[in-house]
């Protein structure tokens, strides 16, 4: 089993699809992940399962991989396990709260895409104002705090952090394509990459809120938590209170615009 623990999860699932199904059963969504380069040991450890649940999962995975092996079954009543509410420190809670505004933008994307499709010509100002939100708020204001501050508290070479960086880059690529589509009046390109951005960020935010952020915080000392708070506060102060307020108003206005049109 130790050999398996140091393998890429994708290779293990390819070898034994039942492992992917088991991970799904325990709320670890590796099977649909397109990258799958996380080590099995990291995949299990990063989700912060309670010891009994982790032992049971490992038992089931070992049985799936080696059906003939005699493995003692850990005794655990899964029905009695209550999921713990995540308690973020203040700085990380702010990052999670920023996700809420980004998710409101993501929720509008299907409507915006339909609007683009059904309009005679591409409303370039609308698309570019959405791009400004994505670049100014989601990327510059939010992702930069992650990349420049928060992620620095763990090994940036760990697979999970590399995947987060890849997601950020993929998101930026979608945005570049949306801009190009708007410049050229290419409706199909705008729609494809708006939806691509939405799908990517929806999964990305879920991973961060539920797995990555708690995992990083579990490794941080109180001293680092205090330092993180001061550094994020300083980053917020450097852009001022007006920027997040302006982008919140942009989302409210956009929601109202499309509520009226529907």
């Amino acid at each position: 089993m130790e050999k398996i623990m140091s393998k890429d999860i994708r290779a293990v699932i390819d070898q034994c699809p039942e492992v992917g199904r088991l991970l799904e059963e325990y709320g670890i969504g590796c099977a649909p992940c397109s990258v799958g380069s996380c080590l099995v040991s990291d995949v299990v450890g990063i989700h912060g399962l309670d010891p009994q649940t982790e032992a049971t999962l490992m038992y089931k995975m070992e049985k799936a991989l080696y059906p003939d092996r005699d493995v003692p079954e850990p005794k655990v009543d899964l029905s009695k396990i209550v999921p713990k509410e995540i308690n973020y420190s203040p700085a990380v809670k702010n990052l999670v709260d920023e996700h809420v505004l980004i998710k409101r933008m993501l929720a509008l994307i299907p409507t915006i895409a339909d609007f683009v499709e059904n309009s005679e010509t591409v409303d370039k100002d609308l698309i570019l104002s959405c791009v400004d939100f994505i670049r100014g708020y989601a990327d510059k204001f939010h992702h930069m705090k992650e990349e420049d501050i928060f992620f620095k508290y763990v090994d940036e070479q760990s697979e999970i952090i590399k995947i987060m960086y890849e997601d950020h880059d993929t998101g930026r690529n979608h945005v570049r394509n949306v801009v190009e589509g708007a410049e050229n009046g290419n409706k199909a390109q705008i729609k494809e990459h708006l939806h691509g951005y939405r799908d990517l960020l929806t999964q990305h935010i879920k991973k961060e809120d539920e797995i990555l952020y708690p995992w990083i915080e579990r490794q941080m000392t109180d001293n680092q938590i205090g330092e993180l708070f001061q550094r994020c506060s300083a980053a917020d102060d450097s852009v001022g209170e007006e920027l997040p307020r302006r982008y919140e108003k942009f989302i409210i206005d956009l929601e109202e615009k499309f509520a009226k049109e529907n």
């Binding site: 420190s89 203040p90 000392t221 109180d222 001293n223 938590i225 205090g226 001061q230």
Partner: protein, 155 residues
């Protein structure tokens, strides 16, 4: 005192003797300052400057066998009892001064699970609200019987 109040209710844990009775050797104290009682400390003392501060209810160190190693290590300390101490508005001002004047990094409040001990968390929150600077504030609740940490959360 009445047995109705969980804070002063008489309880005897003598029968539970499976609690690490075989320990040998001396442990090093993690206390790096004096005084520690919140009425006695100056919030501007050098040992508070930019530090992570632990505000513990008086009973907490007696309940937790590994208090020094697990909770006091690396932190500056203040202690108080929200049930018995007088002039608690001074405590609120001192917490605010720790945050604003000594620019402490974090404040962790450790209380017992008894309801009256929540008062110490309230004092910490009031002090943090009164301060201009903002810092992370954590609450740790310790069980009366068995000395376990029952919960640990950022407020």
């Amino acid at each position: 005192m009445s047995d109705c109040c969980p804070g002063s209710k008489t309880m005897d844990f003598n029968e539970d003797d499976a609690q690490g009775e075989d320990e040998t050797g001396a442990r090093q104290s993690q206390l790096k300052q004096w005084p520690i009682q919140l009425h006695l400390v100056s919030p501007q003392a050098p040992y508070f400057q930019e530090k992570d501060v632990l505000l513990a209810a008086d009973c907490v160190p007696f309940a937790l066998a590994d208090f020094h190693k697990d909770h006091l290590k690396g932190k500056s300390l203040a202690i108080g009892c929200p049930k018995l101490d007088s002039d608690q508005e001074i405590y609120v001002d001192k917490i605010a001064s720790l945050i604003d004047d000594s620019k402490i990094n974090t404040l962790t409040v450790m209380i017992m699970q008894v309801p009256c001990c929540m008062g110490l968390s309230q004092i910490a929150k009031s002090g943090a609200d009164k301060a201009t600077r903002k810092i992370p504030l954590k609450q740790i609740v310790v069980g009366v019987e068995g000395g376990q940490v029952l919960s640990e959360e950022w407020l």
